[in-house]
């Protein structure tokens, strides 16, 4: 139906033309369709759909492999209807036009996959395309032959594109309800292992034996989510939130305390009722959260772009391992003590602080890009030192240090086979780190850091000792990372150079950026979402199936965030305002709120003050 041109003459088509259904920028739509086509082809050839095809979401109709493709036309269809409507400008009216445009975009995108099906059938592309496989062809043809695949994709694309765009036409309330139904079903299906791990009996109730939601269950969940949303469950949450924002003084304080108490109880109770998978996940989130909180001070507050942050994680891990494991290198002198974990932790903190000073002193005088590159180098140097033959007698090179004992607290043993204990230990340190970060942000030191971040020379002119303050940020960051390293050593029970690749630095940085730089809550959310869902550099997340494509997703996420939402997932109101300043000003200008001649009115004020 999309290929219809305005010239065709049946009655309904004429009607459509009269309603302006084809009255949109066709070039633009086809260009966007081409983007969809390229994205789909890229995803298909990345091997993701085949890799994820075994993972059934809704038995037997939908696998994760298809979802990896199907979301593209839907989302792009929706986005095509998004236009920045500035206050005061006549917005073009929404209508059938939007749906047709979404349809065109999805259709063209689907054609891309049809073309791919033809190409894959015609040529053996095994050589240039490593992920070419018969399964990919079968998947793209829905196991029904070439012709079916070629015809099906443009139709599916068109329908999804139109559906995405059509969301603009329904009332916000209905739209929300539809989306919550779709998203809830997808989430319940995707997080099957997690949900079953938390609530055992749901396994038989919702899911098939071989995995995947039962079709009936999927329908019931969708209906429930739809009704709940339509009836206003979301608004109740919104109400609580706006209450909180409007509250002041004692009321706000008591609400904050209530919130923290609920969060604390939830955090303490969750690992008691869940299985090992969830506990492990929470422990990993905690370990990376500690790292992210430390890096947040260095990058977010002091504005020092440290790309070698993994160095301090490594120092923490190795120091603890050397001080606790009987299998440490043979060159350590006899008298060099082996001690319990908490004793090693104290030494680790001191060592990390010293290494922070040692690395920090030479790099801290550099600025911007130079500093970033040099820290990147230091991060690698530290790892290579631990790996080197030269220090083999101390750190065992690639063999690493094994047999790191559990952290023994008398009443509890913290070790990897008991992820719950690791989680509680990490929780204690996370609370400490969050509190420290929070206090620092509001302290004189924190203000000095932010001043340096904003304008180093002026900070110096205010009498701030910029070199010392930056060193301090480096050291605080190093110490927080070393907590994480020490816990990591006890958890894994062994320490290898390969645990400390550059990738760790980069993933932590992404967590900080995606969460929202300099924003503690944002960093917590960022760690929970990224590490929890996608997983750490080597640690699986909830979407273990995605682990092969983890970096692809991390990268894509970073790009999208920087373009669309530089203030992070949890924007700090102020920072967000600043980053979108231009839009605000433009809006305000159109509303006639800003006097463009901003110079004369403060003048009168000064005169008033002088009088």
């Amino acid at each position: 139906m999309t290929a219809v041109t305005p010239g065709a003459a049946t009655a309904t088509e004429l009607e459509l033309v009269q309603k302006g259904a084809f009255d949109f920028d066709w070039n633009e739509a086809i260009r966007k369709g081409a983007i969809v086509a390229l994205t789909l082809a890229f995803i298909a050839l990345s091997g993701m759909p085949v890799g994820l095809d075994d993972r059934s979401l809704i038995e037997p109709i939908l696998s994760m492999g298809y979802v990896a493709l199907l979301w593209v036309p839907f989302v792009l269809g929706w986005l095509s209807g998004n236009e920045t409507v500035l206050e005061g400008m006549a917005a073009t009216k929404r209508g059938l036009r939007d749906v047709v445009r979404g349809d065109v975009i999805g259709f063209v995108g689907g054609l891309g996959l049809s073309l791919l099906v033809i190409l894959l059938n015609a040529f053996d592309l095994r050589d240039p395309l490593v992920n070419w496989s018969p399964q990919l062809i079968e998947l793209l043809q829905f196991d029904r032959g070439q012709g079916f695949g070629i015809v099906a994709w443009p139709i599916i694309g068109g329908v999804l594109g139109a559906a995405g765009a059509g969301l603009h036409l329904v009332s916000p309330r209905l739209r929300k309800a539809i989306l919550s139904a779709v998203i809830t079903v997808l989430l319940v299906a995707i997080f099957e292992t997690f949900i079953v791990d938390v609530i055992d009996f749901l396994d038989d109730l919702l899911y098939e034996k071989q995995g995947g939601l039962k079709l009936v269950a999927a329908i019931v969940i969708a209906v429930v989510a739809f009704i709940a949303s339509y009836a206003g469950a979301g608004r109740a949450v919104g109400q609580v939130r706006s209450n909180y924002h409007q509250a002041t003084g004692a009321a706000k304080k008591s609400q904050t305390i209530t919130f923290i108490a609920i969060a604390a109880i939830a955090l303490i109770v969750t690992p008691m009722i869940t299985g090992k998978i969830t506990q492990e996940l929470l422990a990993n989130i905690g370990i990376f959260l500690l790292l992210a909180l430390g890096l947040n001070i260095v990058v977010g507050l002091a504005g020092i772009l440290d790309l070698g942050y993994v160095a301090f994680f490594a120092v923490g891990g190795y120091t603890t391992a050397v001080l606790t494991s009987p299998n440490r290198g043979e060159d350590w002198p006899e008298w060099f003590p082996i001690m319990p974990w908490w004793g090693a932790l104290l030494v680790t903190i001191v060592v990390a602080a010293l290494v922070g000073l040692f690395i920090g002193a030479p790099v801290i005088r550099m600025r911007g890009d130079y500093l970033a590159i040099v820290t990147l180098g230091f991060g690698e140097i530290i790892r290579i030192l631990f790996l080197s033959d030269w220090l083999n007698g101390y750190f065992n090179g690639a063999q690493g240090i094994t047999n790191v004992p559990a952290a023994d607290f008398g009443f509890a043993q913290v070790k990897g086979t008991d992820p719950r204990s690791v989680f509680y230990l990490v929780l204690v340190f996370a609370v400490i780190s969050i509190y420290v970060s929070w206090r620092l942000e509001r302290s004189r030191l924190g203000r000095a850091w932010m001043a340096i971040r904003e304008d180093e020379s002026v900070a110096e002119a205010m009498g701030i000792n910029t070199v010392n303050m930056k060193l301090m940020a480096f050291v605080v960051g190093a110490v927080l990372a070393s907590f994480s390293g020490a816990i990591f050593a006890a958890k894994v029970g062994s320490i290898f150079p390969t645990s400390f690749l550059i990738l760790v630095s980069i993933i932590i940085l992404v967590v900080v950026i995606v969460g929202g730089m300099g924003n503690i809550i944002g960093v917590i959310v960022g760690a929970a979402v990224l590490i929890g869902v996608l997983g750490g550099p080597k640690q699986p997340g909830l979407l273990a199936e995605f682990s092969e494509y983890k970096l692809l997703i991390y990268g894509a996420l970073l790009v999208v965030m920087m373009l669309q939402r530089p203030e992070g997932l949890v924007p700090n109101a102020r920072r967000s305002r600043e980053l979108h300043q231009d839009e605000f000003l433009q809006d305000a200008w159109l509303k006639g709120e800003v006097d463009t001649d901003d110079d004369d009115e403060p003048g009168t004020e000064v005169q008033g003050a002088l009088a």
Binding site: A448, M450, A451, G463, Q581, G603
Partner: protein
């Protein structure tokens, strides 16, 4: 005016790498004075201020504060003893709030009551600043930023205020009020050392002035005398010779 200068340059030479910027410069600022340093672009005016404040170290000569040679003392030492700068183009901490900017001005002080008093003083001087305390400094208008920059400097409770081209980038209508403001601060007993390209205006409120040319002091006189000086009128006050 007392006999010991508050701030003094004795035969100061400054280099950026191999480039010789300040050449045998001698200056003296006495407590409570208002003096100005005139000079064309790149003549070394900003470098003079940075050297006074210790952000640039001279290659020879002495920077003297209250009779003490402070060449090897850091900026913080000098700020603590009452030297404060309003930097070129104001340079507020843009993403920090107005209040945070003001607090950073008082970074080296620990007298809580004094800080609170000074804040109140600044609020009454600039009621507009008080209204904007939680706003980001970068979102203020030019005139408001100037007020915050001045306020931030005053929060250090200075004895001498170094001002680097305070009228640069201000709308013409604001330049006049800005000078009046500087005069008002001066009347509270704070010495002012002002770097300006706007020679007429600066000399009309200053006691004395110097003229810097490619790093050398070529004129050193009272403001009135400088205003009458035919050479200066020609080169800096933009007047034709046949006046």
């Amino acid at each position: 005016m007392s006999d010991t200068p508050l701030l003094e340059f004795r035969n100061i030479n400054t280099h950026y790498g191999a480039v010789h910027i300040l050449k045998d410069v001698n200056l003296a600022i006495y407590p409570g004075e208002m003096v100005c340093l005139l000079g064309g672009n790149a003549s070394g005016k900003s470098t003079t201020l940075k050297t006074l404040l210790g952000m640039v170290t001279p290659t020879s000569g002495e920077v003297v504060l209250d009779g003490e040679v402070v060449n090897d003392k850091p900026t913080s030492y000098r700020v603590e003893r009452g030297i404060t700068m309003v930097p070129e183009n104001r340079r507020l901490f843009k993403r920090l709030s107005v209040l945070e900017n003001l607090q950073l001005g008082a970074y080296l002080r620990d007298d809580k009551d004094g800080i609170a008093n000074d804040l109140e003083r600044i609020y009454s001087m600039f009621p507009r600043v008080k209204e904007r305390l939680s706003q980001r400094a970068g979102t203020l208008s030019g005139g408001e930023q100037q007020m915050v920059a001045m306020g931030r400097a005053l929060m250090a409770s200075p004895r001498v205020l170094l001002m680097d081209e305070p009228s640069m980038g201000l709308a013409p209508a604001l330049v006049q009020t800005n000078f009046e403001l500087i005069q008002q601060i001066h009347e509270e007993g704070i010495a002012i050392f002002m770097v300006e390209q706007n020679a007429n205006m600066a000399l009309s409120i200053a006691d004395r002035g110097w003229v810097l040319q490619t790093g050398r002091v070529v004129l050193d006189d009272t403001a009135d005398a400088l205003l009458q000086n035919p050479d200066l009128r020609k080169s800096y006050l933009g007047e034709a010779t046949s006046h």
